[in-house]
């Protein structure tokens, strides 16, 4: 008997009702919890709550407007020698990054002259690449040698201070936001929902996408349960909240 058959048979046997008794009905789940947060999506209260949570996690938060965003992106990249952006990032933000940083790598697009020399594709293809761009995802080594990344996000949860990335073109592959030590993430106010259930409902439209939920910079509490920011993930999370 295969392991599959046997494990499933064991499960069925374990659940079989005692002789002479009928199977118990499948219990219904009481769902009396809040399906919506106490703050409305995109409201200034939602933004206030999100900012409060992010600051508590010791992320850097900058509140800006659509008009001021490009300058804010540039300001957060000051002093960074090289930055990477996903292929679908807003061209205005990319232009701002180019103003501030000497070198801007676009993932999925071979950078001109390939300054790292190792931005080789892994031949699997990148569905997120912009149309017409050459399919050449940056290597892990190239990304490890890149100081910062700029992305958008899919949704943010005010109550928990959580930003969700789901791999859309303006967020890119998961590795982009993992290896560079500084993550500059742009959150539009209308993307801020109150609670976790609202975010899950939105994400459920594309459950197959790889998702990363980010709540502050990487941290550990493994030594005497003292929270220390900065272990393996980006140690420096900078969130630009766009309110208009």
């Amino acid at each position: 008997m295969s392991a599959r058959t046997e494990v499933l048979a064991r499960v069925r046997r374990a659940l079989a009702p005692a002789p002479g008794r009928s199977a118990a009905p499948v219990p219904t789940v009481p769902r009396d919890y809040r399906r919506h947060g106490d703050v409305a999506t995109g409201s200034s209260e939602a933004v206030e709550l999100l900012v409060d949570r992010l600051v508590d996690y010791r992320a850097t938060v900058v509140r800006t407007s659509t008009a001021g965003l490009a300058a804010a992106v540039a300001a957060q990249l000051e002093g960074v020698p090289r930055v990477v952006v996903p292929p679908g990032l807003d061209p205005a933000w990319v232009a701002a990054a180019r103003e501030a940083v000497g070198e801007v790598l676009v993932d999925g697009v071979a950078p001109v002259g390939d300054p790292t020399g190792d931005a080789t594709g892994d031949a699997t293809g990148d569905p997120m690449a912009v149309p017409g761009a050459s399919v050449a995802p940056l290597s892990h080594a190239a990304l490890d040698a890149t100081a910062a990344v700029v992305t958008a996000c899919r949704v943010a949860v005010a109550e928990t201070g959580t930003i969700v990335l789901d791999g859309e073109g303006d967020q890119g592959r998961r590795v982009l936001t993992l290896l560079p030590d500084r993550h500059v993430c742009v959150v539009r106010a209308d993307q801020v929902v109150g609670s976790v259930p609202e975010a899950v409902a939105l994400l459920a439209t594309h459950p197959e996408r790889p998702m990363t939920w980010i709540s502050g910079p990487s941290a550990t509490s493994d030594i005497e349960l003292v929270r220390v920011e900065g272990v393996h993930g980006p140690r420096d999370l900078r969130v630009l909240v766009v309110e208009d």
Binding site: G125, E159, V175, P197, P207, D222, H232
Partner: protein
């Protein structure tokens, strides 16, 4: 003031590589007797558990619907158990449809064999690991080492435990028994590339771990993880973490192997809205943990391009067969019950002799090993002593985010442990004494006659007894024997004044006999 000579001064507690990660030590009372001697351990644990308790209470109090979320979590888990075969088949279909490969393992040996074969097929000699209880439970690292494959734990606490040659003592914070100075000594002594002049500041220690592991993450071809949950209707699997080591393992290598207990499946994607609120607040006491990764099969161009999901039984179906015991399978491994347990706080995790310590371990470990199942375990087996590792105070039940009634399960398993089906146990003083008690309590007549013997015994032992000869000394070494009452409750009840008669109330309160008299008599002691 001591001088550090660079030698590790930290002894392993206990040494790693036990033959069975679910049962490595002596019985709980013997092991606890040993760990209770360690004042440093108790101080470390007291500080840590009290810190996390307060954090958890603060963040759960923030949510007005916390109790509703607990009720929903409990309901979903009951639903999962009731429909487990269908959910597992659905999960398999969903994962397969998205390019993953599903494997089934009846027990630890089979799971280890599957994983080892997969690592070999990838032509890898080293793997990076995300902290995982399932792989601890099956002793995967030791098995891989025997096959010539080096497994590196990448969670900070797991790394500490691995470098110290220790066993974990907590579900969430496996190195909770170590303080910062001990950890500094472990790193200096065993890490190889620990920076010179490493201090015991947690931030410095974390930075040393980051530097130590970075190159391994980048060169690893294969990663091995557990799973906090897997969604049947979409095939989505999740790892909830803090440091980013999980993201590294789940993103960088070409091959990802995930080992998951069959009970971790959830019916729908929507159920995430319940568990992603319950788990972080209950485990680290944060509104949300820093990182959670969700992946569904293989995504071309993003993350591992080969994904294997190993579904593990290893005793879970035995627990599932017991209607009370199966609630142990509802556990989401948050460790809130450990942090509030007065027994765990004092004995530490190693006393439980299992990778699953604390209250949940006391009901999970014995069932995974067969307590309650046909044939069962010998009542003297170390794992059969675990249901007794509790004062039944119920703090664990109050803290559990999925409302597992651990005290009820403990009492149920105490009975199961002492009376294994289809097995005769060697009698002990306890079993003979309790057998006699059971005999006398089974019938009213016998109990009346037994009661008549009490005034006779009082003549022999008229006062409170502090010390009895063996075997009575086993009792009096930790408690006094109270003075026996002058009369039994039955006699007092029959002789009491008629209700309503004058003085009846007074007689009641003075309690000339029965239990009321015991206390008064006890106070007559010089």
């Amino acid at each position: 003031m001591s001088v550090h000579l660079g030698m590790p001064t930290v002894r392993p507690l206990p040494a790693a590589d036990p033959a069975d990660p679910l049962r490595w030590g002596p019985t709980f009372p013997d092991a606890a007797h040993e760990t209770l001697q360690d004042g440093q351990l108790r101080a470390n644990l007291r500080r840590a558990t009290h810190t996390i308790r307060d954090k958890r209470l603060a963040v759960t109090a923030e949510l007005s619907d916390w109790e509703d979320l607990r009720a929903a979590g409990s309901g979903v888990k009951q639903q999962v158990m009731a429909t487990l075969p269908d959910l597992l088949e659905q999960l398999e279909a969903s994962v397969t449809a998205r390019g993953g490969v599903v494997h089934w393992a009846r027990d630890a040996a089979e799971a280890n064999r599957i994983v080892t074969d997969l690592v070999r097929a990838a032509d890898a000699h080293e793997v990076v690991k995300v902290k995982s209880m399932a792989t601890q439970e099956i002793g995967l690292n030791e098995h891989l080492a025997a096959a010539g494959i080096e497994a590196t734990e990448t969670d900070l606490a797991e790394l500490i435990v691995q470098l110290a040659g220790d066993m974990p003592s907590h579900i969430l914070v496996p190195a909770i028994h170590r303080n910062r100075d001990q950890i500094r000594d472990i790193f200096t002594g065993s890490m190889g590339d620990a920076p010179a002049g490493l201090t015991s500041e947690p931030a410095d220690l974390a930075a040393a771990a980051r530097a130590h592991l970075r190159a391994r993450f980048l060169r690893a071809d294969v990663a091995i993880s557990g799973a906090n949950l897997a969604v049947a209707d979409t095939g989505t699997v999740a790892v909830v973490e803090s440091e980013g080591n999980g993201r590294m393992c789940l993103t960088l290598p070409r091959v990802l192997i995930t080992v998951m207990g069959i009970e971790k499946v959830l019916p729908t994607f929507t159920d995430l809205e319940v568990f992603m609120q319950l788990l972080p607040r209950s485990s680290t006491g944060e509104r949300m943990n820093p990182y959670t990764t969700f992946w569904t099969g293989v995504t071309p161009g993003d993350g591992p391009q080969e994904f294997h999901l190993v579904l593990l039984d290893n005793g879970r179906t035995r627990a599932l067969a017991d209607e009370i015991g199966r609630t142990a399978l509802h556990c989401i491994r948050c460790s809130a019950c450990l942090n509030v347990c007065p027994v765990y706080e004092r004995t530490g995790g190693h006393a439980y002799g299992s990778v699953y310590p604390g209250p949940i371990g006391a009901i999970l470990t014995p069932q995974l090993l067969g307590v309650g199942a046909e044939g069962g375990l010998d009542p003297h087996d170390p794992a059969a002593t675990l249901p007794f590792a509790s004062s039944l105070c119920g703090a664990c039940y109050d803290a559990c985010p999925v409302k597992i009634d651990i005290p009820t399960a403990l009492v149920h398993l105490r009975d199961q442990a002492q009376h294994p089906q289809g097995r005769r146990a060697r009698p002990t003083g306890w079993s003979v004494g309790l057998g006699l008690a059971a005999l006398s309590m089974r019938s009213g007549t016998v109990f009346r006659w037994a009661g008549r013997a009490v005034p006779l015994a009082r003549r022999l032992l008229p006062r409170r007894v502090r010390r009895l000869p063996f075997p009575g000394s086993l009792w009096t070494s930790s408690r006094d024997l109270p003075v026996l009452p002058r009369q039994t409750f039955r006699d007092w009840f029959e002789q009491r004044p008629e209700p309503g008669a004058a003085g009846g109330q007074v007689a009641d309160r003075q309690g000339t006999g029965g239990t009321g008299g015991t206390r008064a008599d006890g106070e007559e002691q010089p």
